[in-house]
Symmetry: C2
Subunit: 239 residues, 2 copies
DNA sequence: GTTACCAGCTTGTCTGACAAGTTTCCAGCA
DNA sequence: TGCTGGAAACTTGTCAGACAAGCTGGTAAC
């Protein structure tokens, strides 16, 4: 299983060597040749096998780390870098965040897409009515009630509520893109919550709206749930 | 304007130094302190000003480059790295692509999300009726007619057609996510086209469906366009 | 059997070096 | 004066070596 690192480096035009190294390892990861949790050889061994210096290997590893494909050798340890599957999601989220911060995609567009996806997910969830998803949403709602004026806690519960309902739609693409979008929108939501003069009252209002949404989904009325959701989101993001 | 690099490095717990450096420069870019096109100091100068070694600076720059925030010092040149705005978007797209590739989201889910987004985009495009988008779609359609039985060429034109219409919705988030989804779905679409016993006839049918969609958008009837689209996609992906 | 310790390995970082290419600038020449 | 040639300086890319700090595994002593 180590042959992956032994093949000759492809000769690419003027591309720096570390890019080539990173691309090759990336391709091995994405193709599944290196599966989740696989430990890569140590930097020294990689450098020896690929025939490049350790600095070059380190830069390649930094690139892969920035892409979320390997989970960094934790500071000081004897463990080499590890291939990771879950790392790519926060990276994608922070990349989206950068796009938004640089003004490439307006926040309003992100909110629009989020509303679109969540509305569709609520309709699907109202049809499926998966008990586990409804229970998870109910638990999040309960947590939100308990949070009271604790904005941080309420926010976490809010996120869990929406995520649970969207997972109830049983569409991995919905859940995935929603999670990425949420990361990008989260900061703004937190700001809005923090700016509220009466956090406790606002949270109570949100809880009430969530109750309406959950009840509509339970009743199988996806359109009502989606309509309530749109009002719920508009309340926060202006529109 | 160089003070940005002179401030002391924040003391972060166990985080490697290069991460801290990268985070600080990243923050300066996202906050606008370093605007588009600004040339960063050379590696040596950065290393001197920040009080870290050049290797550390190089790793930080690799991270920023992987995040699309700086456009890499082109191999060999006297030009330092340059802050860039456009780089983040393709990076976000490829990060999402990695998530999809690793997350093993079922194809049907991806197609479902694509259909959802494209339907909404068609409705928005039918309202906006942006002339440039309609013309781009028309051009892609013409290219598709000219492609005939050339599956490769027809596929490229097909992609361009859908992308043009979605861009017509004027929602950056739609366009971004659509591009990512397209990358993940493209291979399957190609397979479907290749498997067709009568490529020329199939392409002709697709062209006819595209004509219907474009006409509906031109007429401002977004719902008809979306309905036609759903039939169009179902024809390919089963459902 | 348990514990303490030491050698070896890993990452993080710095320094120094060199190759190849580009830029700048100055001296020499028309 | 104006132009040209080339050298010096600077840049990135890459390598090699060194050291600190921390983890691991084996081993010797108790």
């Amino acid at each position: 299983m180590e042959d992956v690192f032994d093949r000759a480096l492809a000769e690419v035009g003027r591309e720096p060597l570390c890019m080539t190294v990173a691309s090759q390892i990336r391709a091995s990861i994405l193709s599944g040749a290196l599966s989740d949790g696989t430990a890569l050889p140590s930097e020294k061994e990689l450098s020896a096998r690929l025939g490049v210096g350790r600095s070059t290997v380190r830069e390649a590893l930094r690139i892969l780390q920035a892409q979320g494909l390997i989970s960094g050798g934790s500071s000081v340890s004897t463990k080499g870098p590890v291939v990771t599957r879950d790392g790519a999601l926060p990276i994608a989220a922070s990349a989206l965040e950068a796009v938004v911060a640089l003004g490439q995609v307006p926040l309003a567009d992100l909110v629009g897409l989020r509303t679109l996806i969540e509305s569709a997910a609520l309709r699907a969830a109202a049809e499926a009515r998966r008990e586990d998803a409804l229970e998870a949403a109910e638990a999040a709602l309960e947590e939100m009630r308990a949070a009271g004026a604790d904005v941080e806690r309420a926010h976490r519960a809010d996120v869990a509520f929406h995520a649970a309902l969207i997972d109830g739609a049983d569409n991995g693409a919905y859940s995935l893109v929603y999670r990425v979008l949420r990361e990008s929108i989260a900061a703004h939501l937190r700001d809005a919550l923090d700016a509220e003069p009466d956090p406790g009252g606002t949270v109570a209002r949100l809880v009430a709206e969530h109750e309406d949404i959950l009840e509509a989904v339970r009743a199988g009325d996806g359109h009502a749930a989606a309509a309530t959701l749109r009002g719920h989101l508009d309340g926060f993001y202006g529109s």
